[in-house]
Symmetry: C2
Subunit: 433 residues, 2 copies
C-alpha cells in the first residue's frame, strides 16, 4: 500500500509526463486511510472520503459502531493494544483518528515503525492531556483561564484564594495579541476541576464550591487541573485545518451553545462577533495549529469575555484535533466540509475553500430522548422542511446520547435557527404537533 | 428487517405518542435498502444514504466494483440469477438499482414474493426496452422522434423513405402540449438504429446511411428500433423524482453535451432555455413519471429542436430510472442531490428541495485516458481551484471509461465551465501545465 502511495506521490508532481505508464501501474494508486475509532466522526469522514476515491480501513471496537456500519473494510480490535494497532497500520498509507484516546506511547511506537500518524503524537498529546495543553499554550502566549495542576482539595482552596488576590494569571498576552490578563482577577470559588486525561462532553469535569466538593475529582488518581470558572459571555469555536505542507485554512468563527456541558447548537458565523475579534480567534487557532504542529482539523473552543472597558476578550477552553461537533455545520454550510478538509490535510493534498455557502448555517444536535423511533420522525420533519439536512449516526437511542444532528441554512437567522431547533426537538421527541 | 421497518412505519405516524416505547424497540428501526449493481451510481447513493442513517446492502458482481469498495454489507452475486436475487432481497426492506439490466421476469417474481421493488418492473421495463418505451410514450402523447420497429435492412430503407414522404410521425402532440409533428418531415437516411434492449452510452446504437450499413444492428437477434436522426439544436435532460405516495419534484432542466455518444458536460440550468420550454420539459418528465408509475429518479433525455417558426420543440430521446449522469451536478449544485432524493423516494419519505444552490453549476465527466495516475493529478487540480468538487469512482483507468466527474459552481458561466473543463482534462491527462 505504502509503495503504491509513494508512486502516486512521485508521479503526482507530474514534472515529466513522458510516456504513458506501463500496464502494471494501471491499477488504482489511491491511498488507504486508516481511521482509529468507529464513532460518528469516522462515519462522516468516510462519507466525505468517498468522492475523493481514497480507500478506508477502520479500526472499530465492535461491528455495530457508527462508522463500522457504513465502511467496507473494518477491523474489529482494541485501540489500546499496540500489536492490534501495528497490524492495522500495515494496510494503511496514513493513520488518523475518530477520537483522542489512543495512548501516546503507542502512537510514538507506530511513528518509530515508519507509520504516518496524522496528527502525530507530539501534537495530539495537547488534545489528550489538559495539563500539557495549558503549559504549552502559556509558553506560546495564548490566553487561557487562570489554571494550575492541583495536588489535593487543600490545594484547590489555595488555588481559589490565589484568584481572590487577583494573583497570577496563567495566560500571557504575547504573540497572538489576545487576552488582557484581567479575567482571573477577583475569582475564587467556584473552581473548575478537570482530570488532565479522559474527559469529554462534561465528563471528568467538576465545578466545585469548596474543599469538600473537590474530593471526587481526585478519586481517579489522574492529575487534576484547576481552572478559574470564567464569567464568559458565550462560547465560540475557531476551526482550522492544517496540512503537513504547512498550508492552513480557517473556517468562520462560530457560536457554540452548550446545554448541561454538551454541545447543543452551533451558529455559523457567530452572530454579532466583531470582525476584529473573529480575526483574532482565527489567528489564535492558526497559531496553535502551527506551534503545536497539528495536521488535520483543529477545533479551538473559546470563551468570549467582556473586559472592563467593554471590549471583547478571548480565552482558550479546550482543543480537539479531529473533526469536531462545532464544525458539523460545514457539511451543508461551507464550500468544503471539515471532514473533507481533514482528509485532504491528512493526505497532504491542497486544502479546500472553507468559506460559507450561506449567510447563516445552524447545527443542532439530536440527542437521544425517550422515544427510540427517530426514523418515524423523518416523515414529519422532511415534509415540514424540504431544505432540512438530517445527519444520523446509526446509533441506538439512549437518553442524552448524541445520535445525530441537523443543519439548516438561509438568510434569516431567527428562521434558520427555529427550523433547526424544531427538527432536533421533534426527532428527539421533546415536541409533538 | 421487514418487521422492524413496518414498526418504524407504523410508529412513524406518531398520531399517539403515549408512553415511551418498551426497551425492545430501543434498537435502530431504520430500514435496509438493497441496491442491485456495484457501479458508481450505487457508490454515490450509499454516500447520500449515510446521513439518512439507512442501512445498505449491495449486490455486486465483484468485490472490486466501485460501490463494493465503500459499502459495508456486500453480497457478491449475479443479478441475472433469480435465486441470488431472492436471497439478497430477504435481508432488505426495499430494493433499488444501480442499473437497468435486471431481467423484468425476475423483478416480477420478486414482487410476487412480496418484495418492495422500486422502481417496480412495470415502470422499469420502459427504461429497459426502447420499443416498449416508444409505444407507451406515443400512447400518452409525449413527443418522440419518428420511430418504428424494423424487421431487416430492407425495412430500414422503407422507414427512411417514409420519412422522405413526410409520413407518419410517431409522436402525438397530445396531453403535454409539446411537439409540433413537423420534425419527421423530410428526413430519410441517415437513420438511427437501436437494439431495444442492452444499449447504453452509444453501445447498441448505429447511425446508418444505407441498407448495407444496417446489417450490423440485426446481428444480435434483438428487435431493432429505427428512429429518424433528429436535427437537434442541443440535448437537454429533465430530471424528476417521484415517490410511491405520488409526491414529485423537478430539478432545473440541464443542457447535456455528448462527445462520441458519451455524456461529457452538463450545464445547470440549460443556458438560454426560455422559461416556457423549461417548464414544458419539466412537465413532460413529471407526466412520464406519473403515467409510467416511476418511483425514484427519472432522467428524461431530450432533443431540443428549432421549429420552422423559430419556436423551440422538444422530443424525448431516452429514459433512465435511477440516478443519472445528467443529475450529478446536484451533489454540489442543488439543495438536495438526486441520490438523496432517489433514496427518499424509494423509502417513501417526503422529498427534498430540488432547487439550485448556485446560479450555474457545471459537471464534467472524467474519462480514462492514457495516464492512469489520477490521484497524482489531485495536487494540481486542488491547488489551482480550492472550490473544485472532485468525485472519483474508485475504478481502474481505461481509455474512454467514466472514472469520475467534477462539479464547479458560481455566478459566471464561462468561468465555471472553464474550471470544470480544465479539471476534467487535467485529471484525464489531456492537458498539462
Amino acid at each position: 500500500m505504502l509503495e503504491a502511495f509513494m508512486l502516486a506521490g512521485a508521479s503526482g508532481t507530474r514534472r515529466s509526463r513522458g510516456e504513458p505508464c506501463a500496464d502494471i501501474l494501471k491499477t488504482v494508486t489511491f491511498p488507504v486511510v486508516g481511521i482509529i475509532g468507529g464513532g460518528q466522526l469516522a462515519r462522516m469522514t468516510h462519507e466525505a472520503g468517498i468522492p475523493l476515491g481514497v480507500r478506508f480501513k477502520l479500526l472499530s471496537d465492535t461491528p455495530q459502531d457508527s462508522a463500522a456500519q457504513v465502511v467496507g473494510d473494518v477491523v474489529i480490535g482494541d485501540y489500546r493494544d499496540l500489536e492490534t494497532l501495528r497490524a492495522f497500520a500495515r494496510g494503511c498509507d496514513v493513520i488518523t483518528f475518530d477520537h483522542e484516546h489512543v495512548p501516546t506511547a503507542h502512537l510514538l511506537a507506530l511513528e518509530a515503525d515508519g507509520v504516518a500518524v496524522r496528527p502525530g503524537p507530539a501534537a495530539l498529546v495537547h488534545a489528550q492531556d489538559k495539563g500539557v495543553m495549558r503549559a504549552r499554550l502559556d509558553e506560546i502566549g495564548v490566553p487561557c483561564p487562570r489554571h494550575r495542576i492541583v495536588a489535593d482539595p487543600a490545594d484547590v482552596v489555595r488555588f481559589a484564594e490565589e484568584g481572590m488576590q487577583g494573583g497570577v494569571v496563567g495566560a500571557g498576552s504575547g504573540v497572538v495579541g489576545a487576552g488582557s490578563g484581567v479575567v482571573g482577577a477577583g475569582s475564587g470559588f467556584p473552581v473548575v476541576l478537570k482530570t488532565v486525561r479522559g474527559g469529554y462532553d462534561g465528563k471528568g469535569v467538576w465545578i466545585v464550591g469548596s474543599a469538600e466538593e473537590a474530593g471526587d475529582a481526585f478519586r481517579a488518581g489522574v492529575p487534576v487541573l484547576a481552572e478559574e470558572k470564567v464569567d464568559f459571555v458565550r462560547e465560540l469555536a475557531a476551526n482550522v485545518v492544517r496540512s503537513p505542507h504547512g498550508q492552513a485554512v480557517a473556517y468562520p468563527v462560530v457560536e457554540s451553545i452548550q446545554v448541561n456541558g454538551v454541545c447543543d447548537t452551533v451558529i455559523a458565523p457567530a452572530p454579532g462577533l466583531d470582525g476584529e475579534s473573529a480575526a483574532l480567534a482565527q489567528r489564535l487557532a492558526l497559531t496553535i495549529a502551527k506551534e503545536l504542529g497539528v495536521v488535520g482539523h483543529l477545533a479551538v473552543e473559546l470563551f468570549e469575555t467582556r473586559n472592563d472597558d467593554g471590549t471583547t476578550g478571548l480565552l482558550v477552553n479546550e482543543l480537539a484535533m479531529r473533526p469536531h461537533n462545532s464544525g458539523h455545520w460545514t457539511q451543508d454550510g461551507a464550500i468544503t466540509s471539515q471532514f473533507a478538509n481533514h482528509l485532504r490535510a491528512v493526505l497532504d493534498l491542497p486544502l479546500g475553500d472553507p468559506r460559507p455557502r450561506a449567510k447563516w448555517t445552524v447545527m443542532a444536535n439530536v440527542l437521544g430522548g425517550d422515544y427510540p423511533n427517530m426514523y418515524g420522525a423523518f416523515l414529519h420533519c422532511m415534509a415540514r422542511d424540504p431544505q432540512l439536512k438530517i445527519h444520523m449516526y446509526g446509533k441506538d437511542v439512549k437518553p442524552g446520547r448524541k445520535v445525530g444532528h441537523v443543519n439548516t441554512y438561509g438568510d434569516d437567522l431567527s428562521e434558520v435557527r427555529a427550523r433547526a431547533r424544531h427538527a432536533a426537538d421533534y426527532l428527539r421527541g421533546t415536541i409533538d404537533e
